[in-house]
Symmetry: C2
Subunit: 259 residues, 2 copies
């Protein structure tokens, strides 16, 4: 299995604190030694850092922890390989363009029967179940909406249906973003927390680090963090339900549906 980390915020926010916790799980407090990656959006552009080496030893992971890249939408993943070799092309997140926007995807879980998924024009480059699921999902969405949909709620309902179909193939916990929306789908392993004023202190589970968000924020900031497992031990994380689908937009839930 793998670990997922996502963020949706209404002001550009750095994710150094949460990322520091997650990275420890990459071969140190966790068994996820098979690579890691993180995508930060800035406007319609994005930056991805990734490495097939364990995150707790990665020079590039150090940079990401030290250098506060501020973003309103972040997708991150650390990997314990089950399907596909340990190499760069199999390292999440994966990104493809659709509707003139970059879509970025990360997956926790394991699927069977995924070879039968028709990915159409979106070809997988690596050989993970995850990338094939992502390509299939985009192909479904593009077939239904060749152009950007007028009614996003309708499109979200359709994406939710697609996620349910993938859940039938196994464990499918997902993060997906186009830089504005951050979409989540839970099979069995996803939590979220929305931080807003009054901000408090938070302590990481995986490393002896505490942060006082009051010092780092302004009163109007809204920051949602999504992770497979809670990253802090003194806050109340929301445990998502099987089949739960959420869409965050600049920190706030704008669409939610259950199985």
């Amino acid at each position: 299995m793998c670990e997922l980390l996502g963020m949706s915020a209404n002001v550009p926010t750095d994710i150094c604190f949460s990322f520091t916790g997650l990275m420890q799980r990459g071969g140190n407090t966790g068994p996820h030694r098979d690579g890691w990656g993180i995508t930060f959006y800035e406007g319609k552009g994005f930056r991805t850092f990734k490495d097939p080496n364990p995150s707790c030893q990665s020079r590039i992971a150090e940079l990401v922890q030290e250098y506060p890249i501020k973003s309103c939408a972040v997708i991150s993943h650390i990997r314990q390989a089950n399907r596909g070799g340990v190499n760069l092309e199999n390292t999440h997140p994966f990104t493809r363009e659709l509707w003139g926007r970059y879509w970025t995807f990360a997956h926790n879980g394991q699927l069977t029967g995924y070879d039968a998924l028709d990915t159409g024009r979106f070809q997988a480059v690596g050989d993970t179940d995850s990338e094939i699921a992502f390509c299939w999902l985009l192909n479904q969405v593009e077939a239904k909406y060749p152009k950007p949909p007028q009614d996003m709620a309708e499109a979200f309902a359709f994406i939710h249906q697609c996620c349910e179909r993938l859940r039938q193939l196994g464990v499918y916990n997902m993060l997906l973003s186009d830089g504005e929306y951050v979409l989540t789908f839970c099979t069995n392993n996803l939590h979220s927390i929305t931080r807003r004023a009054p901000f408090g202190c938070a302590s990481l589970i995986d490393e002896d680090v505490t942060i006082d968000f009051q010092q780092e924020t302004t009163p109007n900031d809204v920051v949602t963090v999504i992770a497979t497992q809670p990253l802090t031990n003194n806050e109340q994380w929301h445990k998502m339900q099987p089949g739960e689908f959420n869409v965050f937009y600049f920190g706030e839930v704008v669409y939610q549906a259950q199985a």
Copy 2:
């Protein structure tokens, strides 16, 4: 205008030396202050580092200079904006998937009339002439070869024709790679050098750095570097001709054509 840097090598080679020279042109010895980017392939996967800030001040550029990422195919670019705002989505190189491979592109020059180019399913995310030219080129190639071509020489001849069509719109110096092949097209500003045994010393033009390649290589290494302008002042660079098109494959020219 911008600066381009590419590499094709038969063994994974770091590009720190050449990159150090190029980065100085990003606001120090050159006027290219509007961002930079570099893509390293590893197998079928790739890593891109980019920043809309000047390369000579960039913390991420420092990492790339210090940390020897070894690759057989590299595409890099530093930007002086002429078309499109200074932001991350307009920062080269650009990458898209075709035939289950990632294609990466960088452009030096300026085009007119590019809005009329039909990019089909490859939509530009930013608003540069370069990204639109790239999307148009991929769309042309996919329309002609929906599946990977059997005869690559024929496909290269077709890509060369497409480059000639883009040259009719202005200045089009190009680097393009799928991680194995590195394709170049010259309108007026592209040089290359192929280094092989016996290796000698090279001195950068833009910074007081000399390297003895003999110390860094084995006798079978073949490394081709392509750049808009020569990066060293004590080696013989090949000046490409207007309309010249080259394909490098692990360091060696495997296809060449003139206008």
